[in-house]
């Protein structure tokens, strides 16, 4: 799990072009949207593609994304559950 979380941090920084951030700047349990990292709906769409590209997981309904993308940790858990 820890390994996956670290990997996700790097991938998210790259996918979203978060130039100023280092993996250690992101708390795995911190919320990614709103108050926390301040991501928005376009980032959510980018993350959907990230999951498909890197982990082969397709999210059909973007509304599902809200829960899954709450934090790095929730994404990692979702990947664990859904990866074949």
């Amino acid at each position: 799990m820890e390994e996956l979380i670290e990997k996700l941090k790097v991938q998210i920084i790259e996918q979203l072009n978060l130039e100023d951030m280092e993996p250690e700047d992101i708390d795995a349990e911190e919320s990614l949207f709103g108050e926390g990292l301040g991501l928005d709906s376009i980032d959510a769409l980018e993350l959907i593609v990230l999951l498909e590209k890197e982990y082969g997981i397709k999210i059909q309904n973007p509304k599902e994304g809200q829960k899954i993308f709450f934090s790095i940790k929730t994404i990692a858990e979702f990947i664990k559950e859904n990866q074949k």
Binding site: D40, I42, L45, P62
Partner: protein, 770 residues
């Protein structure tokens, strides 16, 4: 006396009809044009529905009456078919200096996406390279229709063609043109289909505008054009008059790059201001042709905005997107045609596929063909990315008669109102960021193309926003904030920009990714950012600016058109100050592609020696220059903008000389009074010859200068030239590096900029001392 603008001709082609009659029949028979994909070659054929026009490329060439060996884009062909119908319908004489204002979002993308990889390698299909830019379809239309007046192109995403109607009407009202053909064209492309798919806003079934269970939009394609004329002369010549263009407005939502605000601020302002200009009350509107795309976000916020404006008396309204699909840049004018058909036939068209009202707003559109006796005013909406929102009111003409005097009060054209440059900001391949030096140290490089000196972006843009901004957006943000700072203007009354190629970096990124991954695994950011009005939208968003916001995209007419619009807006008294900018960016791929058609030099060259380089083509460059223009002189005033002119494909050198002389004369000046002529020489000797000619003939006694060795060749480089001219006048000093011949001994009062692109698009800008 105020002028009333009327529609005297209509041409239209979309998935519901190849002409006006077929279109009307489909509308009243509730016949949709949306169906299975048959024409567009895409891997998503069985996944989505489209509003396709069921003609192949070759069939369209025949219909448009074109020569099959030419490089036609589908976008241009649709435009030609519709524009020819409009001209025929109106019966205007095309030789009468008629303006053509067109609109498109993706221009020639339908061909570019087929041949892009070939452009980069063997370039077998290189004839399509120069049909990519959005102005290309406009030029093909002008040529096929034999038009010889002003031509320009607007691109503000999905509101584009409502904005071209608006500009045409304003040009007629101001007396700058008598007749204008206005509209837009957009063909379906894999680029847009996949782009909208990344946003997950495409409905896989027939779209359901304003329905509680709507799942998104269907894309469509089409073109439509209106002939606009001054009412008196249209009546005098006994023309059929469809409607009056009585009100129009553009406002910015300044909320989000793609989504509308919760309160529908932009849509509300656009509708309200359009009604205000028409001098009518909300209760006077008999029918609204809504934008109603069928996405969760649009229909909700449009509904909210409609409720805000109309209260409990919401007029009959419907979205016709379920007929045609969303035709993007053409949607505004296609739906204007529907609005006019509604007015003329006294009916409201049904919102097909509607079942249940959206819970949050509870408004119910018209679902059957409804007769409206005494219909007088109809409203149509188009909203686009970058928060770009427009509304137009069409009114029946007999009624217009008695309202005439009131109606046009809000546009009073005080001609010759002086326009001052009161602030500037410039990002270029030279050190132009600071105002305390003026080309004191010159950048000399030996390279394939000239690139900007990167500012420290973090000084101007917060990192969070920076992450999505490509080079062009960044330089636009920096130079615009410098200009506003310089002018001491917090928030301008309007933001008007010009860009020839728009956001190249993002367009290439999305296109390459789409081709390489066979339309799979695409992400939205580069698609969203690839729209031409991204910079204008980003400035509005940053400043929370809800005002008029337009982007012109017609090669080397782009900046000039933006300047023309700015002057017009200030003359109309619609703005006290305008933020005006011109920008383009160069990429390795764009440079490479354009070396294949000899536009750019294929080998590295020393920029300062570019005029003596023997390779064909010019040295490519880039940059962004912004200005704050104002009606009022300030302590910081640089110069007065005296005039701007554009002309397309002059017949010969005599025609060029005549046009330049006439332009100078029109500003009540003589050639001798021009203290400096800044010429666009770029080292492409075949075309530089035109500059040498005017230098030897017209301007044999005037000092001349050049500038493209400093910034390279790009479509909006004349904005850089205007920045130079403004500084030259303010400081009364011509940097040595620019001088070609003759050193002015007297004070520099009048500076003329003459630029042309390969003898196709010629332009003149004149600045004077205040």
């Amino acid at each position: 006396m105020s002028t009333t603008v009327v529609v005297t001709g209509i041409g239209i082609i979309s998935s519901i009809g190849n002409n006006l009659q077929e279109t009307y029949n489909s509308l009243i028979e509730k016949r949709t044009g949306i169906g299975k994909i048959e024409i567009l070659e895409t891997v998503r054929k069985d996944e989505f529905l489209l509003g396709e026009i069921k003609f192949t490329h070759n069939q369209l060439i025949k219909l448009a009456g074109g020569d099959s060996s030419n490089a036609w884009t589908r976008t241009a062909l649709l435009g030609i078919i519709a524009a020819k119908q409009a001209i025929q319908d109106s019966g205007i004489d095309v030789n009468q200096n008629i303006s053509l204002i067109s609109a498109s979002t993706v221009g020639g993308m339908d061909r570019s996406e087929l041949y892009y990889k070939d452009f980069l390698t063997d370039a077998i299909h290189k004839k399509y390279i120069d049909t990519h830019h959005a102005g290309s379809s406009t030029e093909m239309i002008a040529e096929q229709c034999g038009l010889n007046g002003l031509i320009t192109t607007i691109s503000t995403a999905c509101s584009s063609s409502l904005n071209s109607i608006m500009l045409g009407a304003r040009l007629i009202k101001s007396g700058k043109t008598k007749t204008a053909i206005v509209g837009g064209t957009d063909a379906l492309s894999k680029f847009t289909l996949n782009g909208f798919n990344t946003l997950i806003i495409l409905d896989k079934e027939q779209c359901r505008p304003f329905d509680q269970n709507r799942m998104g939009l269907n894309l469509g394609e089409g073109a439509a054009y209106l002939v606009l004329e001054e009412k008196e002369s249209a009546m005098a010549s006994g023309k059929k008059i469809y409607a009056e263009v009585s009100g129009f407005a553009n406002a910015n939502d300044a909320h989000h790059q793609t989504a509308s605000s919760e309160n529908g601020d932009g849509p509300y302002l656009a509708m309200r201001n359009a009604l205000e200009l028409a001098n009518i009350k909300p209760s006077d509107i008999n029918y609204i042709n809504a934008h109603g795309t069928g996405t969760g976000n649009n229909d909700l916020t449009e509904g909210i905005a409609i409720k805000r404006l109309f209260g409990n008396n919401i007029p009959l309204f419907s979205s016709t997107k379920a007929y045609t699909g969303h035709t993007l840049g053409a949607a505004g004018v296609i739906e204007s045609v529907f609005a006019i058909l509604s007015l003329v036939n006294k009916v409201a068209f049904p919102n097909i596929n509607f079942k249940d009202a959206i819970e949050e707003v509870g408004i119910v559109p018209v679902c059957e063909v409804v007769k409206i006796e005494g219909i007088k005013h109809v409203l149509t909406n188009s909203f686009g990315f970058g928060g770009n929102d427009s509304s137009v009111v069409f009114s029946s003409v007999d009624l217009a008669e008695d309202k005439i005097q009131h109606r046009n009060n809000s546009i009073s054209t005080t001609l010759n109102n002086p326009v001052f440059i009161v602030g500037t900001g410039c990002v270029s391949p030279q050190n132009t960021l600071k105002s305390d030096s003026f080309l004191d140290d010159i950048l000399e490089v030996e390279d394939k193309f000239l690139q900007i000196i990167k500012p420290n972006y973090r000084d101007f843009i917060v990192p969070k926003l920076l992450r999505r901004m490509s080079k062009i957006v960044r330089m636009g943000m920096v130079s615009s904030s410098l200009a506003m700072q310089d002018a001491g203007v917090e928030n301008p009354d309007a933001i008007i920009t010009g860009t020839g190629m728009g956001c190249q970096v993002d367009t290439e990124k999305f296109l390459n990714s789409m081709i390489e991954n066979n339309e799979g695994l695409l992400t939205p950011t580069s698609f969203i950012q690839s729209t031409h009005n991204t910079v204008g939208g980003a400035i509005a968003l940053g400043k929370q600016n809800h005002n008029y916001n337009l982007t012109y995209v017609h090669r080397t007419f782009s900046f000039e058109s933006a300047l023309m619009d700015s002057i017009l807006l200030l003359e109309e008294g619609k703005a006290k100050n305008v933020l005006l900018g011109g920008f383009d960016e160069i990429t390795e791929e764009n440079w490479l592609i354009k070396t294949k058609i000899d536009f750019y030099k294929a080998k590295a060259v020393n920029n300062l020696k570019v005029l003596y380089d023997s390779q064909v083509g010019s040295m490519a460059g880039e940059g962004s220059s912004f200005f704050v223009l104002s009606n009022n002189e300030t302590e910081n005033t640089y110069a007065k903008v005296v005039g701007v002119d554009m002309f397309y494909k002059p017949k010969n050198s005599e025609a060029i000389e005549n046009r330049i002389s006439d332009f100078i004369q029109k500003q009540s000046l003589s050639i001798n009074e021009i203290d400096l002529v800044i010429l666009g020489n770029n080292g492409d000797s075949k075309f530089d010859a035109i500059y040498y000619d005017v230098e030897d003939s017209l301007f044999s006694n005037n000092p001349t200068a050049y500038y493209k060795h400093l910034c390279g060749e790009y479509d909006t480089s004349s904005a850089f030239a205007m920045w130079l001219a403004a500084r030259i006048i303010k400081e009364n000093k011509i940097p040595d590096i620019m001088i070609r011949k003759g050193r002015s001994k007297r004070e520099i009062r009048n500076v003329l900029i003459y630029n042309h692109f390969r003898n196709i698009n010629h332009s003149l800008i004149l600045l004077s001392e205040t």
